[in-house]
């Protein structure tokens, strides 16, 4: 199995979830994160003083899936999350050795 981690713009979350859902992926986990990269933060002003806010709010989506689904998932995320503007984010793929569904104790592909 593979774990696909995508760091995306928060307002794209709903769309990506819908698109994955349509592609038959009905399980994922979401984390609020902050990112730092080419896209820079912004400046806020408090009593005449400027503050740099370096981190940009992002959302991390994690999907664990059978190897065979990988290309489809990557495609879906890439297409849905893309705005073409800097800061669209990254996708990372890693290998997962085992998966367990806690409720049933199922393991492997069946548990995803």
């Amino acid at each position: 199995m593979k774990k696909i981690e995508a760091i995306i713009k928060p307002f794209k979350l709903e769309d990506v979830k819908e698109a994955l859902n349509k592609a038959g992926i009905a399980g994922l986990t979401v984390t609020e994160v902050k990112g730092y990269g080419r896209q820079k933060g912004h400046v806020e002003i408090y009593r005449g003083a400027e503050y740099d806010v370096t981190f940009v709010p992002k959302v991390k989506i994690e999907v664990v899936a059978q190897d065979a689904l990988l290309p489809e998932i990557l495609k879906v995320i890439e297409e849905t999350a893309r705005t073409g503007k800097i800061g669209d984010g990254k996708i990372f793929v890693t290998a997962v050795e085992e998966t367990i569904r806690i409720r049933t104790g199922e393991r492997g592909d069946a548990a995803v």
Binding site: E44, I45, Y46, R47, G48, E50, D52, V53
Partner: protein, 442 residues
């Protein structure tokens, strides 16, 4: 076991106080000859309004610090309400308003509110019970030291803070209140005009804040680490409560419910409005955005500046006082980083500068047309008044600065002013009070 002993000690202390009960209660008797129910209603509700200002200040300040210090910051104002009220009832009121001793302080004959009963004291307010006047003034004594805490936010050791507050009120606030408002006080005798506390409350606290910020040193990381306000919605709520309460502060200072209170109410509101706009526009031009914190800060600057003038000036000039206050205080606050001290929440820039401007502006715009018991200022043909105002301002600045510095120096040596580095990093909430402001998990 040990804590039980301590509880016993406390109960014993309470017993001692009990001894005084009989004595003090006697003072509350005697008929009340000419109490006016309308005037009393107004000063009662004004007292409640001014009381609410200190929790309002707690929120105003609390929203501006980092999350980890929110309770510690709120606590300082909150507990001051309790601490200074007790001080005031025991000896503070007597020192400030009791029978004059050489024009510099009241004597202790009103200790424990002795002689402060339900009958009016015509020296201060002829138509309301003396106790009502006393409790109205109590709320002023409460908020003044609370203002100072903003300058040293996020690093003041709680235990030291408590002792400092008691000493500061007794040694700085009470005498100054006597000078300016007490029968026989020397600044009062000079003819200085301070309707609701521009010098007594704002200059004294703003200057003390300056001394304290210098003495205390910068917050760890300042100015490199950004320390933006953690909850501006709380700050706005605080500003709104301050504005609301300030109607009691200024219009209540008429101690009657009539035309003078009405004008004080109107000019307070208009100066505040003008100042909020002025600060907002100044920041907009200077930094490119009209900020919410700026509007709120401007409002407070306006409230501060109109305070001494509120019973002496007409509505149109009040807008000028406010607008100038907004711009002046914005400028002062913007220049702070240049001076390199860390007045965390800009008490100097707002209360020190705003209070000074207000006290001087009273010498410019005061007119007997508004208050026949007041005076005329420079623009109404009486330049002398401006001079008197300047003397009052200078005396307050010097006394508060020198006095506060000495107190803090001594306390630093004896108890230490600041929390430890680790405690500062962990935040006051946990390190001083063992609590968390927000726990949003479940």
């Amino acid at each position: 076991m040990k804590s039980m002993k301590k509880l016993a000690g406390l109960i014993f202390a309470a017993g001692l106080l009990l001894g005084m009960a009989g004595v003090a209660a006697a003072a509350a008797a005697a008929p009340a000859p000419k109490v006016d129910s309308g005037d009393t209603a107004w000063v009662l509700i004004s007292s409640a309004l001014v009381m609410l200002m200190t929790p309002g200040l707690a929120l105003f300040y609390g929203g501006m610090v980092r999350r980890k210090n929110v309770l510690g910051t709120i606590m300082q104002s909150f507990i001051i309400v309790a601490l200074v009220s007790v001080q005031w009832a025991l000896w503070g009121y007597s020192l400030a308003f009791g029978p004059d001793f050489h024009h510099i302080i009241g004597n202790l004959s009103w200790f424990g509110l002795n002689h402060v009963g339900q009958t009016p004291d015509p020296d201060y307010a002829a138509t309301i019970p003396h106790q009502v006047y006393m409790v109205f003034q109590m709320m002023f004594a409460v908020i003044t030291p609370a203002l100072i805490t903003g300058a040293v936010a996020e690093r003041f050791k709680f235990k030291t803070f408590l002792v400092f507050t008691l000493v500061w009120c007794t040694v700085i606030y009470d005498p100054i209140a006597h000078w300016v408002w007490g029968v026989g006080g020397w600044i009062h005798n000079l003819g200085a005009l301070d309707f609701a506390g521009g010098t007594v409350v704002h200059i004294s606290s703003g200057v003390a804040a300056f001394a304290a910020a210098l003495m205390m040193g910068k917050r760890k990381g300042y100015p490199r680490t950004p320390m933006p306000p953690h909850n501006l919605t709380m700050t706005i709520l605080g500003a709104a409560l301050l504005w609301f309460g300030w109607f009691g502060f200024n219009a209540g200072s008429a101690v009657t419910s009539g035309g003078l209170a009405g004008t004080a109410f109107v000019v307070t509101h208009l100066a505040t409005a003008a100042a909020a706009l002025a600060w907002m526009f100044a920041e907009w031009m200077h930094r490119g955005k009209p900020t919410v914190l700026g509007a709120a800060s401007g409002a407070v600057a306006g409230l501060v500046a109109i305070t001494p003038a509120s019973g002496f000036v007409a509505p149109m000039p009040s807008m000028i006082i406010g607008a100038v206050a907004g711009i002046l205080c914005y400028t002062a606050v913007s220049l702070k980083p240049k001076f390199g001290y860390d007045d965390s929440l800009d008490v100097v820039g707002v209360h020190g500068v705003g209070g000074t401007w207000g006290a001087l502006a009273t010498g410019l715009f005061a007119t007997v047309a508004v208050n026949s018991a007041g005076g005329n200022g420079l623009f109404y043909g009486n330049p002398r008044q401006l001079g008197i105002q300047a003397i009052a301002v200078a005396a307050n600045i010097i006394y508060s600065f020198v006095g506060t510095s000495i107190i803090l120096k001594v306390m630093d040596a004896v108890m230490g002013l600041r929390v430890s580095e680790e405690d500062e990093a962990a935040g006051l909430d946990y390190s001083q009070h063992g609590e968390s402001g927000y726990i949003f998990e479940d």
